[in-house]
Subunit: 206 residues, 2 copies
């Protein structure tokens, strides 16, 4: 006996519960909410999901998600193209954008080096960062990775690759507590850490 | 400046965050998850939502959600059609089905009487319950509403409408703690409360 009394509902519940953090009970609550609302509400959600996934692109410069070949930041003439801020993922990029304290461009790694999760340097957008950094336009690379062991490992890996390039390599100020995630940091701390970025060498234990 | 760097993502985040219990941060996590997965995952979710909402019906007998005119329970020849179990919503119906202790049919009120929320008897499927009860097929009405003030009010309202009908009016046993919601009750307690249902009069204070 199908406890949902409807294959349509059962199917929608199953699809919702594939999403991270959504169990069957939550999924059912969402489905019943959509049933209570008029059909255009469900249509708008369904179509937004399908359209977004089929049309989304990745910026050919910085690898962030984008509606075109170049993202809105890389194609913005007012952004300073000589500074690259290196972030783990797009949520960290958004967090920094939210502070309004940064006017350069970004480079989204798509993760950080994490042997435990089987993620090595070749799984990340590091090769393209090195070639961007060597293009002659760049004079500073700002490392804005999480202050975790994995973040530090990734910082160090990139630093070794770039230290002979003559570029200034900085990190966001370590005002952020060790072990914290960037996206949950308050705007003031995060904004100040962009303004007070330090030479990467300063963060190395001697 | 659009912090999502993509109108497509912004739109999907906005649609997700209309759902109950889903804020912008959670919505963004869901959208980024769908971007990481292959397009068929997003398509399946989007299409399941749209199809479900456009094709879903309400059973003409018991008002539960259904894939056809009659739901799977009302159209099941093995279910006893002379007993109606009255529930607040489909989630409570599913909770009772889950116990495997009930073999009659249901009547989904679509809510309970709640003057604070502006919900009166005319907003609920009470009229159709009274006419079903008077059809001659029914001999028992089992009240399975929450043991809250609103549930008791609704119980009493329906009891007054039916008490001269000659039908047996029972309620699920009050083993369930006062103030608890049916859907979160464990199966054993809930199943036993169906088996040990009592004459409604027993629950009235004299």
């Amino acid at each position: 006996m199908n406890i949902y009394s409807s294959k349509l509902v059962e199917n929608a519940v199953n699809e919702f519960s594939r999403l991270p953090g959504i169990g069957k009970k939550t999924a059912l609550r969402l489905v019943l909410y959509l049933i209570k609302k008029d059909p255009p509400v469900a249509d708008a959600l369904g179509n937004a999901i399908i359209k977004m996934r089929s049309e989304i692109q990745f910026c050919t410069e910085c690898h962030t998600i984008s509606d075109g070949k170049l993202c809105v930041i890389c194609s913005d003439e007012k952004r300073i193209k000589s500074i690259i801020c290196v972030v783990e993922d797009i949520r960290d990029m958004m967090a920094i954008e939210n502070t309004g304290q940064y006017n350069g461009v970004y480079h989204v790694l798509g993760g950080i080096i994490s042997p435990m999760d089987g993620i090595g340097p070749n799984d990340l957008n590091i090769e393209s960062l090195i070639s961007r950094a060597g293009s002659g336009i760049i004079h500073e690379v700002v490392m804005a990775l999480p202050t975790t062991i994995e973040g530090d490992t990734t910082n160090f890996y990139i630093y070794k690759k770039l230290k002979n390039s003559g570029l200034e390599i900085t990190t966001i100020a370590r005002g952020i507590a060790i072990g914290d995630e960037l996206e949950y940091t308050d705007e003031i701390t995060l904004g100040r850490s962009i303004l007070n970025r330090l030479p990467y060498e300063n963060t190395l234990s001697k």
